[in-house]
Amino acid sequence: MTSRVVAEIEAEVRELRAAGRVPKGLEDELERRFEEIAEASLVAGSLPASEDAAAAIGRSFNPSQLRRQATMLARRRLGPILRRLERRSILGAARAGESAWLQVHVTADHLERLAARSVFASRALSVLRPRGAASAGATLHPTIDGPLLTWVLEQLDNSRPDASGVPGLVLHVECGDGRIVEALAAQGLDARGADPRLSARAGGATSVVAAGALEYLGAAPSAAFGGLLLSGVVDRLRPGAARALAQLAARCLAPGGVVVVVSARPELVVAMDPVAADLALGRPMHPVTWCHLLAHFGLSELTMFEPDEPETDVFAVSARRPLQDQVGREGRRP
């Protein structure tokens, strides 16, 4: 029955077209308009596809996009009495965030940029900075402490030099004030840190450089590190950039080396204040997605941090580059 009806409908369409009842070019126009809008949405919503992973990630903070977002925020939420309400709104947004991640990353990152435009944003930022980190040059990072810190240190301790020739150099990408780097060094590891918002810091056994973290990783030679700790920046990456970062990590790890990713749980975004949501440029990814990405680029022995307290805001996964080198020149399995 239905095939007969479909044939009749097709015949009717032919008649409609012949009678000029279907406006000429209507379907093509609909197709064209959606494609234009789709393309614009995709360009606005993600980083451009690029072979140069480090460069792509380096563009995560697009100044003109930030200016647009800040202007939108001001227009929508602050009205004409900008200054007084701006202060209230920004502080409210930051405090409304129930997670450390929201306060530390989304709000604070953008407040840093808003600070250049407003003395009130600058004050709000100083309120948000963790105690002891508010001095010039300090930066913000996810809370890695307690059982999570123990777990991270255990994972990276596996990157000690051994008979397989795994180098002991461990890099903490976006290392904040270098606290974890110091803890790694205290374990006898050759630990380095990189953070884009840090003025050079030297002394003791640690070596923390003021470098764009991902540029640093992108410029590093292949198989340069026995251990990599990725935190902070991983909460703000767009999906395409996360893929690029996983690829970089796989390339930079020596065979037998370990990468640890510490990130906020993506579920936290759901509860995000609309102001902070407007300002956020990226989103954290699910731990399983990180596992997929790391496995995709040839890493194995995927392990997830399983806290006794299931409702934590932060998760961690680790993966190892196999001793039998399965990671091709571009980071993919051959």
Partner: protein, 365 residues
Amino acid sequence: MRARPVRIDQIIPSIVERDAVSHHTLEAQRVLHSMGFVSEIYARNMGPGLQGRVHLLDDIPREGPEHQWVCYQASIGSPAADVFVSHPGLKLVDYHNISPVELVERWLPHLGEEVRLGRKQLAEMAPTVEVGLADSEFNRAELEEAGYRQSTVAPLMVDTSNYTALPDRRVLDRLAAEHARGGHDWLFVGQMLPHKAHQDVIKALACAREIFDPLARLHLVGRESCPAYAKALHRFVAALGLSGAVDFAGSVSAGELSAYYTSADVLVCCSEHEGFCAPLLEAMHHRLPIVAYGVAAIPETVLDAGIVLPSKSPVLVATAVQRVLGDSALRKELVLAGLERARAFSIEGARRGFAQAVEQVLSAP
């Protein structure tokens, strides 16, 4: 004939409430219990409300095939598949389809990675799997193509709470008021994901309003799961001047969904890919005629209970909708065929089908 195991456990990457594969997994556990097996569900991630009913994947017992079988619920790439493959028990895969990479990657690159991995894992695990179950012939054929030696169709055990919920009165009243102003109500139900191709339903609506029904409205029900895609759809609707005609209803309760089905005149589906498409069954149950683009498992799910089109040219879809709305005899025929088709997918029938599939594996030499 194989030795009857003590337990048949299930592995699923993620399990959450109000999700078709998750619901199917919970129903399968009931069926396995009714068959006298010990059966637990092991997941890598679980949503709220399922604690106590589902165990963490790390805790799965590891016994040999004479004591334990494991059934993997496959719909996405996951490290859970590695646990399944390395398990010593006899293995079954229950396959619910994995969206093709090219349909999702443009909008959701990370999901692209997951579906790519899922298809790779599906093929890699084939040699270790005794039997593949699939909830449609379309999915079964994909299993065969992926290298599964034995495969059989076991219907999806759908969540019938969407059938039985009373329509939400407030939504009903609102929709009735809109309807009273004239024009027909189109409905599409499905998460706002790129492979569901909402834009093609919107294009068809634009054509219908231009050619046949200037007051026609479209209700899009389903969670906005891909923000960039959802934003593009909102912009598209605004650009076409259809903001007053397209209702982005988002995720709704069972009662609200029932109200949408009750009030609509036609369900229009232009999906690019569906492994089964449960909303088609819901529409049949609610006596709502269907116009759908005949791709993937859709022709098999609909059969003669809807108009299945060979293309989704907007004018063709609009003309098909107009035909269904204007031809009362055809509409009646489709509704009756839909009710009959929905009965074929009753939960009792689906439970029997799943049990038979398990019996079939048991009785194999």
